[in-house]
Symmetry: C3
Amino acid sequence: MEQIKLSNEVSISRLVHGVWRMTEWNMQPKDTVQLVEQCLELGIDTFDHADIYGDYQCEKMFGKAMELAPELNDKIKIVTKCGIQLVSQKRPKNYIKHYDTSFEHIVWSAENSLKMLKRSNVDVLLIHRPDPYINPEEVAKAFNKLKEEGKVKAFGVSNFLPAQFKALQAHLDFPLVTNQIEVSVAAHQEFENGNIDFCQENGLRPMAWSPLAGGAIFTAQTHRFITLKNVLHRISDHMGVPIDQVMYAWLLQHPVGLIPVVGSGKIKRIKSAVAALDVKLSRQQWFDIWVASRGEGVA
Amino acid sequence: MEQIKLSNEVSISRLVHGVWRMTEWNMQPKDTVQLVEQCLELGIDTFDHADIYGDYQCEKMFGKAMELAPELNDKIKIVTKCGIQLVSQKRPKNYIKHYDTSFEHIVWSAENSLKMLKRSNVDVLLIHRPDPYINPEEVAKAFNKLKEEGKVKAFGVSNFLPAQFKALQAHLDFPLVTNQIEVSVAAHQEFENGNIDFCQENGLRPMAWSPLAGGAIFTAQTHRFITLKNVLHRISDHMGVPIDQVMYAWLLQHPVGLIPVVGSGKIKRIKSAVAALDVKLSRQQWFDIWVASRGEGVA
Amino acid sequence: MEQIKLSNEVSISRLVHGVWRMTEWNMQPKDTVQLVEQCLELGIDTFDHADIYGDYQCEKMFGKAMELAPELNDKIKIVTKCGIQLVSQKRPKNYIKHYDTSFEHIVWSAENSLKMLKRSNVDVLLIHRPDPYINPEEVAKAFNKLKEEGKVKAFGVSNFLPAQFKALQAHLDFPLVTNQIEVSVAAHQEFENGNIDFCQENGLRPMAWSPLAGGAIFTAQTHRFITLKNVLHRISDHMGVPIDQVMYAWLLQHPVGLIPVVGSGKIKRIKSAVAALDVKLSRQQWFDIWVASRGEGVA
């Protein structure tokens, strides 16, 4: 599988595995080790975390598994995130969900992620959400410290708009390497809020979270989603490939070079995502989905 | 009439003639020749085309006329466009209206325009609509080839937002020379989406399509358009000039330097547009129209 | 009180006094002198005007007071504005409220402000509103003339969006020093339209007008404002400081460095604003207000 060079220090696989829902997968540590090994065999060497996933438990679960097979730590790359403060028994001081991008919290959170993950470093640390109370100079100071100490190799953001990206970038000595945004056949807002354009302007590779729309297309009963589902089924039938591969292919072949975060604990589903790398939609098929997704034809 | 320098290679007249509706004008080739000659006498030497106008027929009709008077080809400038794929008997492979800004399509479409127009080059080629599936590197490759081969002198876009403009510009070795946008007393969105600001920031001269709002003001029955029509009539009466000249003057005197595309086949209407170059609205008259158009006073 | 350096020529106090409603304060010139002296004692040395405040009367009233104590003129800094043309008995030629950012009007208006204020210069001149009919080159010419003649030390804007700011800045030889925008616990749009981000990107210090929301929170009966008022009261009670200080603190401690324009004629209220410089909200308190203001939790 292709490696995507995000910076001189960091390359990640064309598909990334996401552990967002790991706590729902009922896995023992040895099962997680097996999943990681199977991903590696497929060429997926990058795992997407966040401090808050699984109510602050996913990094810890993953780290416990890695203790069983510590040699894997040198073969995998880790993306993790910080900046959201949940109301949680794990964070008893929090009485309102908020963001914290202070120097102290970023450093503490990154170091805590290393502790949970049982690693000496992570490859990429993302600010999870744009913080209306952000102090870009403080974030820069925290990033510099973590980089100098070898704890984080590269930095990025998630769910930022271009103006927010530029405000932070202006205070950094090195380029942010990605913006992890929500993109799927059901979520086209990033094409319209300037983020995809901004990535293309600046040669930035976005990651795509919820690339299958969390299954919403298959359960929702709106006119838009029913139409979209029908178009996807038609293309799936026509090409003889499963519908999830059509959805991944729609993302994978976009020229901006979206890196989907595959959020499944089932190796069968992950293999299907990998197979989607070989599915090529025609331009008209791509637009057929685009038009159904937006609910109106192109102008 | 003033010439507007778009680049070192291309200047166009302050008013441009647009053939969008040419197929509705019931003109014989000799009539078209006469119209072109009359435009040239008025100083209008630039003609705005697109591959798709008249269901892919306008360029061909225009080219046939030019065969009757080939010497005119050296006196006129041509703007044309590419990138929209219509569902049309002329394009039997298209089953859904879509955009195509691939290297292959841009080159093929531009070369086909030359064939239809019976010309060896056009002055400006525009990407007709922002393409959500654009690959700016491919567009750059196509533009470079067409420029090097002398087939297109300069390039621009149409209906792009600033973020889309910047994404494409970042991949080009030469500046895009214009953005052809919809602006009229009835269509003020470009003042509010950042496009006029962006043109002023970058010294870019926008072209204005549908500068008379396609007559909508005179047929629509909305409160906003009735109010706007009344304001236009009041100013028209006060100044003793026809209402279309008030509408053109409102565009022509804006400091951004809008270049209206005059889309009429009737020389009388074209002469009226030219006469509007001498109409000067006061600042309060300009705002009177602005306020009526937006339906609310300034803050 | 801290001085904020806006340019090599101009520094202003961390809090600015605003005379917007001066005509409602029923002050004699000697009362105004006293208010200015009391502000200076508190460290507030900057007074925010506009040509139009009080239907073109505030500058004049202020100037008359300063004639009683001309020595104060060297101790205070003046921000004033131009560019709005009101329908007013004072401006009999105006039949529609409009903007005028022509060379002639900017120069005339600034010189007229000096005449009204009985001063030889002002520290900062702002374009009061973004003008859809702006000619940035003309504005630049006017700014250059006023600067060269020593009549205005620095220039800025008010209520501009980033695209509008950049369009003007591109034509100036010196940086605009501020954007005076509406920000308060009840007016969070500037966090969402890119302006706060743009200021952080460019190290620009915004001024905040209507920092107490003009009292709207205390009179309006909307669900959002009732919720917001309750949160403010809760925090006020918890911290043992008046509610207006909570509202000022929310602005003052934001990392972008907002400079509130304190628009009261009562020294007691002004002193309370100054006291807010010592109030420190926790990050969760800041978000508690943010969430109540927006009517939804953070994502």
